[in-house]
């Protein structure tokens, strides 16, 4: 049997204004993208292939599901026009649908099921026709049954329509509440109502109350209370003394100090009340992100002076090695000056810096790299206050065109060295953002200096490794 998943832009029109940039099929429900539940269901019902069909863009879905090898099935994609009816959809996928039995889901619907009831024999024996129907979607079967036998009524599954933020919230709460859960949820779990992801740090005095689901790279600070009924996504910080209950925090959300998140959905700097559908964007980000936008690049004057002093120190330290090594490498053609444009603290305000590349395996280039001479020119930008000496790994302008950097990475502050380098975290925008954000809020000038030295030493060390 094969499955056809048909979803139209009109089915999820309500979701786009609330979660800009999120495709509904990859919208997380209890930290698991919506489409995965449908895929799980298709597999349990006996499908060997799934085709996802839409009149809207599918590239985000494709990026997540790829060809389905992760689930051991074939996943393919197809486009339809806005006013194609279900017959037209089947016509357009005639070759895919030609092998007999098909299961077709239509609309933005969630199919809930119980693992203990056997789904596969039921679907194999059920006659063709609509199995489940709601006002905005349906589940139907076409073709002759694969097996003969008595069909046990009612169907061991039911349909949940996702037509508003309220229904999305209710569904998530229900799944969190279900025990024993028929759905496989991401994260480590030794109890049915508690799932914890990788790299979750709970400070002393923080409290986690079940049921709860927590994603990867999450920090729960001192005195914070998470749960009951909390779904925390990945790359999230819940800062000191804040409480999160009956709520969902989507990926990349920062909850500042001393806040109460009760019965809400938070996504970046957006806070939604699922009961009324009211959504507010925090224009002053620090209500949610707990930080102020002071100074020219997000630092106070005092901290700026400190940064300038540290960069001056490094300039003096590296001046002679730079004078000796840079011209030599330039002659060898291994040193190339590159002008790079980085996103500034504020959206649309870019910072232009010189950041050369040093190529080659030789002793000289190795030495130059380990002394961070490629960052030498940037130190002058730090001296003049255009970048910080330590902060975020700079994001190249144009990397995140669709979403504002400040939403993706609250506390972003381009710098010569990054906190991730100091803490020896993998340096890429997604994984390092959490440690960068932590220091952006809790860092102090002295700590900045220590971390700058640490980052510098780590880079030397990195070159020593075979």
């Amino acid at each position: 049997m094969k499955t056809l998943i048909v979803i139209r832009e009109a089915d999820y029109g309500w979701l786009t204004p609330l979660f800009p940039g999120v495709h509904p099929l990859v919208m997380p429900i209890c930290n698991k993208p919506f489409i995965e539940y449908l895929i799980d269901f298709s597999i349990l019902a006996g499908s060997t292939a799934v085709r996802i069909v839409s009149d809207g863009p599918l590239n985000d879905v494709e990026r997540y599901c790829e060809n389905g090898s992760r689930w051991g099935i074939d996943i393919s994609y197809a486009s339809i026009l806005v006013d194609d009816d279900l017959d037209a959809v089947m016509d357009k996928n005639a070759r895919y649908c030609s092998e007999g039995r098909m299961m077709v889901t239509s609309g933005f619907i969630f199919i809930s099921y119980e693992k203990k009831h056997e789904l596969k024999p039921f679907v194999a024996m059920a006659p063709a026709g609509t199995l489940l129907r709601g006002s905005t979607g349906s589940l139907l079967l076409t073709g002759t049954p694969e097996n003969v036998g008595e069909v046990r009524e009612p169907a061991p599954c039911s349909l949940v329509e996702l037509d508003s933020i309220g229904s999305y919230y209710r569904l998530s709460t229900e799944i969190l509440n279900e025990r024993p859960s028929p759905y496989v949820l991401p994260g480590y779990s030794n109890e049915p109502d508690c799932h914890i992801g990788r790299n979750v740090v709970t400070s002393k005095g923080a409290e986690i109350i079940k049921p709860v689901i927590i994603g990867n790279n999450v920090q729960i600070m001192k005195g914070a209370v998470v749960g009951p009924f909390a779904v925390i996504g990945s790359n999230v910080i819940v800062d000191r003394e804040s409480t999160v209950s009956n709520s969902m925090l989507l990926d990349n959300t920062y909850i500042g100090e001393n806040l109460d998140i009760v019965g809400r959905i938070a996504y970046g700097n957006i806070l939604i009340d699922p009961a009324s559908g009211v959504s507010i964007a925090m224009e002053d980000r620090h209500l949610l992100s707990g930080m102020k936008r002071d100074g020219i690049f997000g630092l106070g004057l005092f901290r700026y002076l400190f940064h300038a002093a540290v960069s001056l120190l490094f300039i003096l330290l590296l001046f002679i090695p730079y004078l000796l090594l840079a011209p030599l490498l330039k002659i060898q053609g291994k040193w190339k000056n590159r002008t790079m444009t980085f996103q500034g603290v504020q959206q649309g305000k870019n910072v232009i810096v010189v950041r050369p590349s040093i190529a080659g395996e030789g002793v000289l280039s190795g030495l130059a790299r380990s002394l961070s001479l490629d960052r030498f020119a940037m130190l002058f930008s730090a001296l003049s206050g255009r970048v910080a000496v330590i902060g975020s790994f700079p994001v190249e302008a144009g990397r995140h065109q669709e979403a504002a950097t400040s939403v993706l990475m609250p506390g972003y502050r381009p710098a010569v060295f990054s906190y991730a380098e100091a803490e020896d975290w993998p340096v890429n925008a997604e994984d390092s953002s959490i440690v960068e954000r932590y220091y952006a809020v809790h860092g102090s000038p002295v700590q900045d200096m220590v971390l700058t030295v640490k980052a510098f030493l780590n880079r030397i060390h990195a070159q020593d490794q075979p």
Partner: protein, 152 residues
């Protein structure tokens, strides 16, 4: 962490290939096929398996678009002009830059509304969607379009 360090060392910033082709659309296939093979070579080295095909196609198509853009941007009497394509890498990122001495162009061009049947103007839209980072610069009478994609 050990792994991360090793990866850093195996792939230092490296310009490994530069080619120069006549500014003629019939050479576009040479440019794009080469880009695809470079991407195949690079992704094989950096050991990505799952998204390799997508990664290579992205380079094939982006270079085809950049090359065509370059050729169509040249004045017709400038046939003897050259288009320079160079490939470099840093860690798990592959970068290709396409440069020429043609007139300046607007890299921010938006695709017109599809429902009005536009026959041109998709090129830069495709490039921006396929690549992680796209940068345009104009220096000393040269256009340079640099495109980066992460293989990881």
């Amino acid at each position: 962490m050990q792994q991360e360090r090793q990866r850093k060392n195996n792939y230092p910033m490296n310009t490994f290939m530069t080619m120069s082709l006549p500014s003629d659309i019939h050479y576009a296939r040479i440019a794009s096929k080469t880009a695809m093979m470079v991407a195949e070579f690079f992704s094989g080295q950096s050991g990505i398996a799952e998204k390799r095909e997508e990664f290579c196609h992205a380079f094939e198509l982006a270079v085809a678009e950049a090359f065509a853009n370059s050729v169509f941007n040249a004045a017709p009497q400038e046939k003897e002009r050259q288009v320079m394509i160079s490939f470099s890498s840093e860690k798990s990122e592959l970068m290709v830059s396409v440069s020429d001495a043609n007139p300046e162009f607007d890299p921010e061009m938006q695709v017109p509304d599809i429902l009005s049947y536009p026959e041109h103007g998709y090129g830069l839209v495709l490039i921006r969607q396929l690549m992680d980072s796209v940068r345009y610069s104009r220096q000393d009478g040269m256009n340079q379009l640099s495109m980066i994609k992460n293989a990881g």
